[in-house]
């Protein structure tokens, strides 16, 4: 008996094949992204030889001799590292001499990075525009693999669903709070800084595009990206001076919890969330940078005086919603049994004045499921001030009216 020769199907790719490939690409991209998130959150001592070698290589690429290296324990220590090492303010490119020979090293290195951004970042931005942003609702981006199974393009999923978590974890939750802190404490001391491990929302993201094969880089760009990636893997912020380069160590402690987008966010209810060896850093709860009192001593007075809603919410949750409504003396508008949640009450309070960023009431509810310790968690939701009673308020949170909400059969 003879068997028919199997037909080669090399050229015939089915939609299922394409989806499987896209799924593999997205999984690979997720792994690479997570590696870079880990680099951004790393609290290991800097790899000084690797950092110095990579930074010297960047100097060589702009035809400058390798600088002397001055290591500091944190970015906050950089401005006091010495008069000659104090980083210069960033000169505007159009205010610089025509000839590159006359440029400060910082400007040359800034231009080097800008060129890479232009060649890689702009290509990506253009592709994103082709796909359009409107297909992806924000909440959908939390399920990248599902998006691929539904037929979304891998490059689109990587840019809209995977990489935002890297940017939010590293740039938005670490770099920006640290920079704001540094500027608040010391004016603008930094001039042109490179961000090492906290710059992985660029170098790391480009690496994701490159290693998944979704973007082909020119060889010279790829080589340069290797150098930026090596810096990102080995040290913290650095200031490229003409003769001296000030480089910061990484933090010694970074505490996080997981963020809804698949990334991480600074979180510690016991000391600073980010701490450098010299004590510099910040406190944070679930990704919100908070003053120390929120952790150590939240009181209704401090909460009432705090202008930032997010910080106020963190402080109240530290204190507990019940304790807060009692200590702050909030006026109870009414209470009612929570339908579908036997034994639990809905309570509606008036919130004083405009302290919540607009006139509002507070609905205090009880979770339908027990916590590990057997208790049910209470939580507060702000609702419009013209809701008359707790039932109407609870109904409003789901876009229902009181009669509909009263028919709730079960809450878990």
């Amino acid at each position: 008996m003879t068997h028919p020769t199997p037909r080669t199907r090399g050229a015939l790719r089915t939609a299922a094949d394409a989806r499987r490939d896209a799924l593999e690409t997205v999984r690979l991209a997720t792994r690479i992204r997570d590696e870079w998130i880990d680099e951004g959150l790393s609290a290991l001592p800097a790899d000084r030889p690797a950092a110095e070698a990579a930074i010297s290589e960047l100097y060589a690429r702009v035809r400058r001799p390798a600088p002397r290296f001055v290591w500091v324990p944190s970015p906050a220590a950089a401005p006091t590292a010495g008069a000659t090492t104090r980083p210069m303010p960033p000169p505007r490119f159009d205010a610089l001499p025509d000839r590159h020979d006359g440029w400060p090293a910082a400007s040359l290195i800034a231009a080097l990075h800008a060129r890479l951004d232009l060649r890689v970042g702009d290509v990506i931005a253009r592709r994103r525009r082709v796909h359009g942003y409107f297909h992806f609702e924000r909440w959908r981006t939390d399920a990248p693999e599902q998006a691929v199974r539904e037929g979304a393009d891998a490059a689109f999923v990587v840019s809209e669903a995977l990489l935002p978590a890297l940017t939010r974890t590293v740039r938005d939750s670490l770099l920006m709070p640290l920079r704001a802190l540094l500027n608040a404490e010391a004016g603008d001391p930094s001039g042109y800084a490179c961000y090492g491990q906290h710059g992985v929302h660029k170098a790391g993201a480009y690496d994701v595009w490159r290693r998944t094969g979704l973007l082909r880089l020119r060889p010279e760009d790829s080589e340069q990206l290797d150098v930026w990636a090596a810096v990102a893997r080995s040290c913290g912020w650095w200031w490229p001076g003409d003769e001296e380069c000030v480089v910061s160590e990484r933090p010694v402690d970074v505490r996080t919890d997981s963020a809804p987008d698949g990334g991480r966010r600074p979180h510690s209810v016991d000391g600073q969330a980010v701490r450098y060896a010299d004590g510099w850093g910040f406190h944070a709860v679930n990704g919100t940078r908070v003053p120390e009192w929120v952790i150590t001593d939240p009181t209704p007075e401090r909460i009432a005086a705090e202008p930032n809603v997010e910080i106020r919410r963190c402080a109240i949750e530290r204190l507990g919603w019940d304790a807060y409504t009692e200590l702050a003396g909030l006026r109870l508008v009414g209470s009612a049994p929570d339908p579908g949640n036997p034994g639990s009450e809905l309570c509606l309070f008036d919130l004083p004045g405009n302290t919540w960023g607009g006139p509002a009431r507070l609905l205090l509810t009880v979770n339908g499921s027990v916590e590990r310790d057997g208790t049910r968690r209470r939580y507060g939701l702000t609702v419009p001030f013209d809701l008359p009673d707790p039932l109407a308020a609870a109904a409003w949170t789901y876009g229902l009216d009181s009669d509909q909400y009263a028919r709730l059969q079960r809450r878990t």
Partner: protein, 152 residues
């Protein structure tokens, strides 16, 4: 399959995990009315006739064996997952919601379940339902610009 399942039946069948302090062996009621699961609510579509409309050309897709992740939660990233026996439930996200709260609409021919690691499972009787999320807000009721979604 029996009409009522327990949480341990469901975790075995779906491979989805729930926290081990939840009641594993109690039957999960299968209900045809409103049910809330943390920051989500399941509402019979007929009750929302003036608020939620499914597009005429909506793409309905079968709920796959590993379920549809309806919404991923806040800290810890716990998802609400819709699970169903094969070919017994379809799901669409092509809809309009006056309040912008509906995540999707499900159409079940047999009982289906919405699962969450911290909240356990909600049994949903055959029928058509919208799943909406929860919001909070300030200002007057009529002003929609200050609303935010709740992540529990």
């Amino acid at each position: 399959m029996p009409m009522t399942l327990t949480l341990s039946d469901l975790t075995r069948q779906t491979g989805l995990d729930v926290l081990d302090h939840l009641e594993m062996d109690a039957a999960i009621p299968v209900l045809d009315g409103l049910q809330a699961q943390g920051d989500l609510i399941v509402v019979p579509l007929a009750d929302l006739a003036d608020a939620v409309t499914v597009e005429d050309r909506a793409r309905w897709r079968p709920v796959p064996p590993d379920g549809v992740e309806v919404l991923r939660g806040g800290a810890g990233g716990n998802p609400h997952t819709l699970v169903a026996e094969p070919l017994s439930c379809r799901w669409t996200e092509d809809l309009h919601d006056r309040d912008g709260l509906a995540l999707g609409v499900l159409r079940a021919d047999r009982p289906v379940h919405l699962m969450h690691p911290e909240h356990g499972a909600s049994g949903i009787a055959p029928g058509t339902y919208a799943i909406r999320r929860q919001r909070e807000g300030r200002g007057p009721m009529i002003n929609r610009s200050t609303h935010t979604y709740v992540y529990d």
